[in-house]
Symmetry: C2
């Protein structure tokens, strides 16, 4: 069975705000082979990923992503690996390619699961899948009062854990950050799991991060996420030596297996956070989950968009019983909810279940999507190389 | 003085061949501030870098690159650093951004050098610049005979060193690779410096690389370049323990300082090869040169395009006297020669000199470029967001 088409759809809120909310746009991917279809999603900058899909070749190791996908056989799991390897070799010098491949890889797993009538996690080799404890992922309030109120709401919604990130945190004074953290802890109560996301705000400045360690310990934060950019291995490692019970978390910026491996090997991470929509899809995310499990690190999904992306991000560690924490964005823009007919929600115990259905178990809602579709046209030398395809 | 405009021009040969020749297209960057202009070049996939320059914002850490450049003050070297930091923060989740920033950073150094009437290497803090020994960088022949002939030609042209790469090497049998290497050594004579580029052909397969070590030692290769993809640190390191006098070289795929640092720290590299058009421009390339020098590794430029890119790639290590080897592509397509009015060529002793002129010391040839200009138009929601600007 050959891959007949790869269609990508740029979706966006009518207005994108200058805030750390990744659910404001999306690049939806549809792959078809014979009568079978699978859906995926690429993280961030849809227009750039579209360009990388269809750009003219620069040289033999800088081909458009689609050149390594269209016409390929897709019959079993090993085909997805082969196609990914082809893209990585043929688009070696095309930096954006890993993000673009991610959505295609996810769609291929969905397609294969639907065709074989198995959930993706089974195709990945897991015998059983385990419920996860979702944390509500929200932005810090603009001040401590707003953060307190957000935390209380999250607990009232039945969550046991919450992650506060971005917003003013790390940019304002240490005192302001303390007030934010104390408010978050107060709102969650003694039992709530408190996670903190610095959003790379200190870049590679260990001293700036160090100043917040005392209060992070006092409010019993389970983790401090992304004090630094992905790749600042020695800075992460230096901080990890002093962070004590506050585990360091990071890795969302990794766009290949090697980068994630380095974060596990050299950065002193306790939690490695992988976005299946960036790292090269479910295939590479599963490689990282295996590696983390073998090395005693804990795998966590990074997800900030639709439930399609959420299901994709849960599959790679669905069968790892002791890797329980999972990211569950709860402040999604309407686009991200409208994208799918069915949704993943915590059960009465506050636990999240990977869909027990073929493929990713998520149905795109083509009617729901339609109002958010962004028409794009790209012409090169007067010839149209991309136009938004019809939704089908 | 504020940055008034950032114009990018997609240039290409009429036909791009499926070979490992990066000189077949280019993205030329023009930055203007007041009456001052600077020129730069981004490596690979021009259309994708154009998209990343002007794409709609996805969220606060995924902005188009131009958003962090236009309107910024550019008066001294520290401004270039500040602008680069802004791009890295504001386009954190835009994978292609590092390549796009590279061309802009190069253009900013050129602009500042022209304005201050100083060559870029002086602005980088070097007191003196040193001649480099260029190696002719060519593709392996399709068979050993062709490689022999290429090697003889290179020596006849006055070069003391040659690098053979890509083509069939590493993909065919060990015997065929041996024949290629023996031919290269024969053609160069006993004194010629022989460098070998595997072009990541073995991905992360140490065993495949190991099979070629014996013959590489026999033909006295100075280095084996990119046996593996950038980031395969442990694989590089494993091979380095057995490669003896054959130094490992790599790093061209690095798109930020951290990745290059890891290659120096963890991969057992003797030579770290940096493409200023990928790693974030001259600024980050200089950081890597400083780091390599401090750690006892040798910095080498990676360059496969025009003489504008070549000058940019020489500046970061112009003042490092003992880092003598430099890449000098000699099989450029006509586009790459036509791009500039003046050219960098070895002197009568076969040595290369960084231009002793303001900025990068290279003048774009707008008339020469014109036939290669690729017209691009991108529309989003029916609104034109990019059209090839007039050459000026």
């Amino acid at each position: 069975m050959k891959i007949d088409s790869v269609d990508v759809y740029y979706l966006s809120m009518p207005q994108v705000l200058d805030i750390g909310d990744g659910s404001q746009d999306a690049l939806l991917v549809r792959v078809a082979a014979g009568e079978h279809v699978g859906w995926g999603e690429c993280e961030a900058s849809p227009l750039v990923s579209i360009a990388s899909l269809i750009c003219p070749m620069s040289h033999s190791a800088c081909k458009p992503v689609i050149a390594s996908v269209l016409g390929q056989e897709i019959n079993e799991a090993s085909d997805i690996r082969r196609i990914g390897d082809l893209v990585r070799a043929n688009s070696l010098d095309l930096l954006q390619a890993d993000h673009t491949l991610s959505g295609i890889d996810i769609a291929l797993w969905d397609l294969l699961g639907r065709r074989l009538n198995e959930p993706v996690w089974k195709l990945l080799g897991y015998k059983k899948c385990f419920a996860k404890m979702p944390y509500a992922s929200v932005l810090f309030g603009s001040d401590a009062d707003e953060t307190l109120s957000k935390a209380k709401t999250i607990i009232a919604q039945g969550f046991r854990a919450a992650k506060f990130g971005w917003g003013p945190f790390g940019l304002s004074s240490v005192e302001d950050d303390c007030a934010q953290l104390v408010a978050a802890r107060e709102g969650l109560g003694d039992e709530g799991v408190l996670l903190v996301d610095a959003g790379t705000v200190w870049n590679a400045d260990v001293e700036a991060a160090r100043k917040r360690l005392k209060i992070l310990k006092e409010v019993r934060a389970t983790w401090l996420e992304e004090p630094f950019v992905s790749g600042a291995l020695s800075e992460y490692h230096a901080l990890s030596l002093e962070s004590g019970p506050v585990g360091l978390a990071g890795g969302e910026g990794c766009h290949n297996f090697h980068m994630a491996k380095h974060m596990v090997d050299h950065a002193g991470l306790k939690y490695v956070q992988i976005d299946a929509g960036r790292i090269g899809g479910i295939s590479i995310a599963k490689d990282v989950a295996d590696y983390a499990a073998a090395k005693g690190a804990i795998y966590v999904n990074h997800t900030f968009t639709s439930n399609l992306a959420l299901s994709a991000s849960l599959q790679p560690f669905a069968g790892l019983e002791s890797h329980t924490i999972c990211e569950f964005p709860t402040e999604l823009k309407s686009l991200a909810s409208a994208m799918t007919k069915n949704h993943i929600a915590p059960d009465e115990n506050g636990l999240l279940h990977v869909p027990d259905a073929p493929g990713l178990g998520i149905e795109p809602d083509l009617e729901g999507i339609a109002p958010y579709l962004v028409e794009v046209e790209i012409q090169v030398r007067g010839k149209r190389v991309y136009i938004t395809p019809p939704l089908r």
